[in-house]
Amino acid sequence: MADLFSKFDPIIQQRETLLETGLTDPFNLVMEKVESPTVAICNGRRTILLGTYNYMGMTFDPDVIAAGKQALDDFGSGTTGSRVLNGTYAGHRAVEEALKDFYAMDHAMVFSTGYQANLGVISTIAGKEDYIVLDIDSHASIYDGCALGNAQIVPFRHNDLDALEKRLKRIPEGAGKLVVLEGVYSMLGDIAPLKEMVAIAKANGAMVLVDEAHSMGFIGDNGRGVAEAQGIIDDVDFIIGTFSKSVGTVGGFCVSNHPKFEILRLVCRPYVFTASLPPSVVATAATSIRKLMHSADKRAHLWENSRRLHAGLKQLGFQLGTDEPQSAIISVIMPDLETGAAMWEALLNEGLYVNLARPPATPAGMTLLRCSLCALHSSEQVGEILGMFTAAGRATGCIS
């Protein structure tokens, strides 16, 4: 009998080699206790969290928690059903209303995760004769949405305007076109030139979908994302987002002004054939989204944190993913997986958690230490973080 698992042997081998050196497994961390959006207990030790997507620190917001508890009491622990059958409660409608208000758009559709939102919308709207033109560095959920559907998939070099335009112009006349972009690319924390890209897409008759998962809540005057910040949100046909980052719970969504948008509720399989979010989750999400509309002070502090960490790490001599801070993600580029894992462990021993990111998640085979800031990191914590990077960087020889 051929072992179906033998195809995983190379990665099993790589993992064993890495762990044989005595390193802590970077992909198996357990948080024993979570004290706040910025602090958890890991291996019995107080650890500053610099690798979550809790950008706006909403997970322990008292109003959010209260809304969740109330919904548990009033509606129970789960819906046990699809949105189109018995899985739409008042709370699901309420969170969709909150999204429509947040984005000032006509329609909002909530999925059980952000992954499913991309999977569902992309695979459903682009059919067999259509073309999807996407950035090569797109998130796995976008690629999986492409794979689930039947459209022709055409990638172009990351953030390359000419490459996008050339490909759009070569698509056969009359074919449907969907350009898929992200506001913030989550591995390096860089943003897309959406203004120019959306203009190119529109000039070539394409619809545009932008994933704003890593920008919601703090980029743009109203926190609507990079498309808002660059002044072209009205030209974007579909915005995909998530509740598992700034909103602070789990779930995904698509907002749109397309007049026929609501039909997706009947034809989108990843929406129909799965259970809807629990009442407590949609209640916390709705409360959080409405609070995010009025969070200018927190946004300003998050940006201050991002600028300070970026400047500090640069000064220490680390190589960063962007020349300037463009989002709440600051990526430190490591020379290889071994050094990255050693540095990750040294930081953990200092009391700091960051994400170790490696291929296939990262572009160009890079190993990254990904730092994501929170609006609730205090100025003192950012200072502590820089101290920890100094100590760990010197201990591992990453900086002198």
């Binding site: 090569i136 022709q152 998939i153 055409v154 070099r157 490459a163």
Partner: protein, 84 residues
């Protein structure tokens, strides 16, 4: 030279700058296994092929193309489709 031979010659020229290991290229040479190209190299190479022949080679098509000869065949088909 036939059209196909011309296409093959052009493809060889486009492979050259990415053939870092100096592999001797035949129609049977496989891009992934023999040339050991990673996804970014493939993206750059495909972009060059697309520009040279003014065609679009979708990922769906790329999935069916393993060897140099198969790429030449695909380009011939694209040219024929456009001519018809």
């Amino acid at each position: 030279m036939s059209d196909r031979q011309q296409t093959y010659a052009k493809v060889l020229g486009l492979i050259e700058p990415f053939n870092k290991k100096g592999v001797a290229i035949t129609e049977g040479t496989r891009f992934a296994q023999d040339l050991e190209w990673d996804s970014l190299t493939v993206l750059d190479f495909v972009a060059n092929v697309e520009d040279e022949f003014d065609v679009l080679i979708s990922m769906n098509m790329q999935a069916e193309i393993e060897t140099v000869g198969q790429l030449v065949d695909a380009l011939e088909r694209l040219a024929a489709a456009r001519g018809s």
